[in-house]
């Protein structure tokens, strides 16, 4: 089959060029640039100088303290890494929530479009305004959350200023933000492509709701699940900087600082550009590695089924 246009690269190049230049200048170049920077020390005032692997050694390294115990040279990094993964918990939970909502909406109900619109509303508004709203909602004395808890005679915690409750508070917000968002829309679209007869046939064959789910529904949403999980993981691992800046400044005691916000802090508040670049690169490798693992598992799963 021949395509309509001949000319190969010469035809394609003008189409490609604007994007390609931007890609080289703002993505590929900076990628290499920040790798180089991660081997340097630079405070933006003096000129940068080469320090080799020192940044990475300090970031990931351990040393034996005076008491003979091994301790991380940068304990904050490990704490923030833990925070990042903790906040990632929202991904599986909200995916299950999205799937349930989508299955519920995938019926001949009236007002499905209305519900879809309402559930999607938080996603439309996501960003700084919603972070301020939630900071206000989580206000222990005047906010909506504790007032709602008071309805059922529970005294709410101090949420964002409490080192224990700060992370759950962020999780609740993330769930509210994401459960009815793109994931639910994708699930709904996938479910709507399943012929209704299939479910009915399964029901006639005597399949209970559980086995009918695995036999009919799951195969049809499998690839969408993979897509949502992958993009969610990529996004989740690097998120949290805007949230932290607006809601908590990363506190209390670093409880809500994610890796993304750590990079921001190091780069623009402490002006350790080289160190910040090395954190960013560790983050990149983490994202890359996990995505690759997930992708490989998916391929294996496909081979088995």
């Amino acid at each position: 089959m021949k395509r309509a246009f001949a000319g190969g690269v010469r035809t394609a190049l003008p189409f490609l060029l604007p994007n390609l230049i931007g890609f080289l200048a703002f993505t590929f170049g900076p990628l290499v640039g920040s790798l180089l920077l991660s081997f340097c020390s630079w405070d933006l005032l003096r000129s940068p100088y080469w320090v080799g692997l020192d940044n990475f050694r300090e970031l990931l390294g351990f040393h034996r303290g005076s008491d003979g115990e091994w301790a991380a040279t940068d304990p904050a990094f490990w704490q923030y890494l833990g925070n990042t993964f903790f906040l990632l918990l929202n991904l599986p939970v909200s995916m299950v929530g999205s799937l349930i909502l989508a299955m519920w909406l995938n019926r001949p109900l009236r007002g499905v479009r209305f519900y879809r619109l309402v559930f999607y509303l938080p996603t439309v508004m996501a960003g700084v305004a919603v972070f301020y709203l939630w900071r206000w909602m989580l206000n222990p004395d005047e906010g909506l959350i504790n007032a709602a808890l008071a309805l059922v005679h529970v005294e709410g915690p101090k949420w964002l200023t409490d080192p224990f409750w700060a992370k759950p508070a962020i999780l609740i917000m993330s769930f509210w933000l994401s459960v009815g968002g793109g994931g639910m829309i994708l699930y709904l679209a996938a479910l709507q492509s399943v012929p209704r007869e299939l479910e009915e046939a399964a029901a006639i064959d005597g399949a209970g709701p559980w086995s009918s789910f695995w036999a009919v529904t799951w195969p049809s949403v499998r690839s969408v699940t993979f897509f949502i999980a992958t993009t969610g993981l990529i996004r989740g691992l690097q998120s949290g900087s805007e949230m932290a800046y607006v809601m908590t400044q990363g506190g209390p005691a670093g409880a809500t600082t994610t890796l993304g916000f750590y990079v921001f802090e190091k780069a623009y508040q402490q002006f350790e550009m080289g160190y910040a670049a090395s954190i960013a690169w560790v983050m990149f490798l983490l994202v890359f590695g996990l995505t690759w693992l997930q992708w490989r598992r998916e391929k294996q799963g496909e081979a088995w089924s």
């Binding site: 703002f26 109900l109 509210w176 995505t291």
Partner: protein, 309 residues
């Protein structure tokens, strides 16, 4: 499965509960935006007074415009979002056309490289981008030494030309918008759209004597409206709410965008929540409007990205 919509009203109950959890925070937002400054309604009035307004202080919405240069912030956000959206849709559509409908050597390899960069965290590219934006006036000085770039750079937003701002360097519209105009995601999304179109379209266009540009502009783009609209909505909403990049790039008040400007309401002596929420509502209006406008394209647009998995 006889789930007939008319008889199973109880199917609606869980949906309504979920809907209420989505809407109650927004009610709270409105109630706060309409409350008196420093009003202590909240602690004693209980839950329902936080969801149904008891005072209707519409002046808060006026005060937002008077207290800070809110109009300026609004205009800045609008300019940035429009420029970024137009730029990104143009560059992405062109590149997507090359990836989806033209045949050339190395196409798939380069496309794979594009896909891989979607994994690069914003934090990685932000630092070098910040540095290069800072350096651009100097670099231009080496390239075109006969132009006094520093003078242009320090032209600044003056009282004579308040709209102008600096041309290049940090603290300029240039650096606010330019890095946002290129997107691997947008290219990917539109490519998915373009590949689903039948090949006969190109052939028919070629028979009618269209070159690649005419085909792109007159045939492919018009048929792909849902994709272009989806990308447009996403990009606009993203650029409208962009926070970190403007935060590090902008220094002067006259270049602040809305998300940065909101900070003005959290003063030293506590946040003025009634103003903050009023401002947040004003900021969210374009999001809702553009979403409602683009809604009928939306689902197909969102799903196209996931087709390949």
């Amino acid at each position: 499965m006889k789930a007939d919509g008319r008889h199973t009203w109880w199917w609606h109950v869980p949906l309504m509960i979920v809907g209420a959890t989505m809407l109650l925070p927004l009610c709270f937002m409105f109630v706060t935006a309409l409350s008196e400054p420093g009003q202590a309604i909240r602690a004693d009035g209980g839950f329902w007074s936080l969801v149904f307004p008891r005072t209707w202080r519409w002046e808060n919405f006026l005060e937002v415009w008077q207290r800070v240069p809110f109009l300026r912030y609004y205009a800045n956000s609008m300019i940035v979002a429009m420029v970024v959206t137009c730029g990104q849709v143009c560059t992405s559509a062109c590149a997507a056309f090359a990836f989806a409908r033209l045949q050339w050597r190395g196409r798939d390899a380069i496309f794979l490289a594009y896909l891989a960069t979607m994994m690069v965290p914003g934090a990685v590219t932000m630092i070098p981008n910040f540095i290069s934006m800072k350096m651009i006036p100097e670099w231009l000085g080496y390239l075109l030494p006969w132009i006094d770039w520093n003078a242009i750079r320090h032209l600044g937003p003056s009282s004579d030309w308040p709209v102008l701002g600096r041309f290049v360097g940090l603290d300029s519209y240039f650096s606010l918008t330019l890095p946002g105009m290129f997107s691997a995601y947008g290219t990917f999304l539109l490519r998915q759209f373009f590949t689903t179109l039948p090949k006969e379209l190109d052939e028919a266009a070629a028979i009618d004597g269209c070159g690649p540009w005419t085909t792109f502009y007159r045939v492919i783009l018009p048929v792909s409206k849902p994709g272009v609209a989806t990308l447009g909505v996403f990009t606009f909403v993203g650029a409208w709410g962009a926070f970190l990049w403007p935060l590090v790039i902008v220094n002067s008040d006259s270049l602040r965008t809305l998300p940065i400007g909101l900070q003005a309401f959290q003063g030293q002596y506590g946040t003025q929540w009634q103003l903050m929420m009023a401002a947040a509502i004003l900021m969210l209006i374009p999001n809702v409007v553009i979403f409602l406008l683009g809604q009928r394209f939306f689902v197909s647009g969102l799903t196209a990205g996931a087709v390949k998995g």
